[in-house]
Symmetry: C2
Subunit: 343 residues, 2 copies
């Protein structure tokens, strides 16, 4: 029996996340029949190797999406009009920007957490309906993956999150800047910062993306608002400090939870260990705890340091880390498409 395949498009194909989507479509053996790639005019005309053939990159601004079944967009919020255009042309569009994440008419989904929010697009036994799905913010995906088992069993009363975010979250230019600053330090030159307002090499920046008018950052606001949507808790009490660290890839988060009922660390570990897409790495006796270098290239979100919070009888502290280019972006987008194909 021949497997049914689909026409797939990747917009923003030459960026960090776009490249990862291409790699993971192959690794996960997504049923790609034909593949089209789009990017900005600057990259149009380039040839990109995928499996055994070369694909010419098209200009996103003028690309015609008729005939495309699945379009993975990782082209930034500024290209949201093209994502809409693709959906109107008949594609099921999974958009990695923040453009649609607060639109209540568009599902925001982590398949392991809120797959039912895709129900409006599902067509049993066939490809999903045309339309938009928003792929959440990277830090948010990792956070909800780790806490969803606890929310499910004991409900979160309040959460405090501090992030340790990798440079790859800011794209290839930022990775170049980190490497260049390392070289500048080694050779005794002054460190030049362009992508970030201050040097990131040998430093940490309590600032991710941009400030909003109330002194939080857009990243912090996304973590709060998108977690509320993903967990189905519009009133969820959550606060975050988002910090950039000189790590190339994989975000980490220190999470404090107050639950609605007391939960022992042993019980919490068992729930986390049983959750799909999450791996428990937590054994103080053997110094087992997860670090971003361990999560780099992994599909699973790694969770450890689960322990009693000495400040609250219903409190738990934990630590998580996950490859934000994979589960935090490309992988989650493909998992959304896979979930939709399950019908």
């Amino acid at each position: 029996m021949t497997r049914r395949t689909w026409s797939v498009a990747v917009a923003g194909a030459t960026g960090v996340v776009g490249e990862e989507i291409l790699a993971m479509l192959d690794q996960r053996d997504f049923p790609v029949g034909s593949l089209r790639l789009m990017a900005s005019a600057r990259s149009a005309g380039k040839q990109v190797r995928w499996r055994d053939h070369d694909v010419v990159v098209e200009d996103l601004a003028t690309a015609d999406f008729h005939g495309v079944d699945f379009a993975f967009f990782s082209a930034g919020s500024a290209q949201a009009a093209h994502a809409r255009r693709a959906a109107e042309a008949g594609a099921t569009v999974i958009d990695n920007s923040s453009a649609f994440r607060e639109d209540p008419s568009i599902p925001l989904v982590v398949p392991q957490v809120n797959p039912h929010d895709l129900d409006g697009l599902r067509v049993p036994g066939d490809r999903p309906r045309p339309g938009l799905v928003a792929n959440p913010n990277c830090s948010t995906i990792l956070f909800v993956m780790a806490v969803a088992p606890l929310e499910r069993h004991a409900k979160i009363e309040r959460a405090v999150v501090s992030t340790y975010q990798a440079v790859s979250g800011s794209g290839a230019k930022a990775l170049d800047e980190l490497a260049r600053q390392g070289e500048q330090e080694r050779t005794g030159q002054p460190l030049e910062a362009a992508v970030y307002p201050k040097p990131i090499h040998g430093n940490v920046l309590p600032f991710v993306q941009a400030f909003t008018d109330d002194g939080t950052t857009t990243e912090e606001r996304k973590l709060v608002r998108e977690s509320r949507r993903l967990l189905g808790r519009p009133d969820l009490r959550l606060t975050a400090t988002c910090v950039r660290v000189p790590v190339r890839r994989a975000h980490s988060e220190a999470v404090n939870l107050v639950l609605e009922r007391p939960v022992t660390p042993e019980q919490a570990r068992a729930w986390i260990a049983a959750a799909p897409g999450v791996r428990l790495v937590d054994d103080p006796a053997t110094l087992a705890f997860p670090t971003p270098r361990d999560a780099d290239g992994q599909d699973d979100v790694l969770v450890g340091r689960v322990r009693r919070d000495p400040s609250h009888e219903r409190g738990l502290d934990l630590w998580l880390t996950g490859d934000q280019v994979r589960k935090g972006a490309a992988q989650n987008a493909i998992e959304i498409a896979e979930e939709l194909l399950r019908g």
Copy 2:
């Protein structure tokens, strides 16, 4: 009028903190009459330059402390017996290890926060009584410096802290390891970890010092217990996750506070800005926020990102960073001696 001077000893003089104590005794113009240096047998006999002369390092194990007025110990908990011996020989000993920090009979002091806890050693118009003073843990000093103004005006109901701790906190060997791993990565070699259980270059480790039997780390426990003593709040509700980051010097902390009454960010900023030894660096409009590179070599603890906590009507989030070799260790020790000399 000639200024009265004192006989000063520095034990652990060849370590990261010992060297900083020597530099700061000079920079702060501490009234040093004579200076003696002690270290392990391995370093005994070495000559160390201080101001315009060389001082021969003595073996701490056999050094006689009679005649010493102030002894600054930065020799680790294993040398606590020698700190006791120095106090019994008549010295006022300021010990930087954790050996005495939980002993209620020995003051644990940050002069800007709880100077009154030194009262038992004060002798107006003369040098203080012989005895021991414990210099707190580095992360703890920085934390209480930033939150003491808020505790004073509005009392802390609960605090959640996540740290971003520099490698210098683990001494010169760890700094060498960080540099060596950077070189190994640059030349395509595997990264070798010895001081830490995993590579610290391009990584973050949710593990500082050692695990206790309940899955917290000794560093996390110190932050909780020592903050309670320093703030005079034995019941203070506080939890911490302590994390090592690839920064050479200066620790940072993301702090969430729930206060006993609502406080606006503007009011909190005014109290912090008015506190001694703390500098407010907080203006989203000009992207002003403090980073560890800004704090490196500074006496003040830098505080920024003061903002409303969206999860609690009495909550505040803030960020701090401070040079943990200076205010987090050497500087605080010398400030204790200076405070005692004020009588």
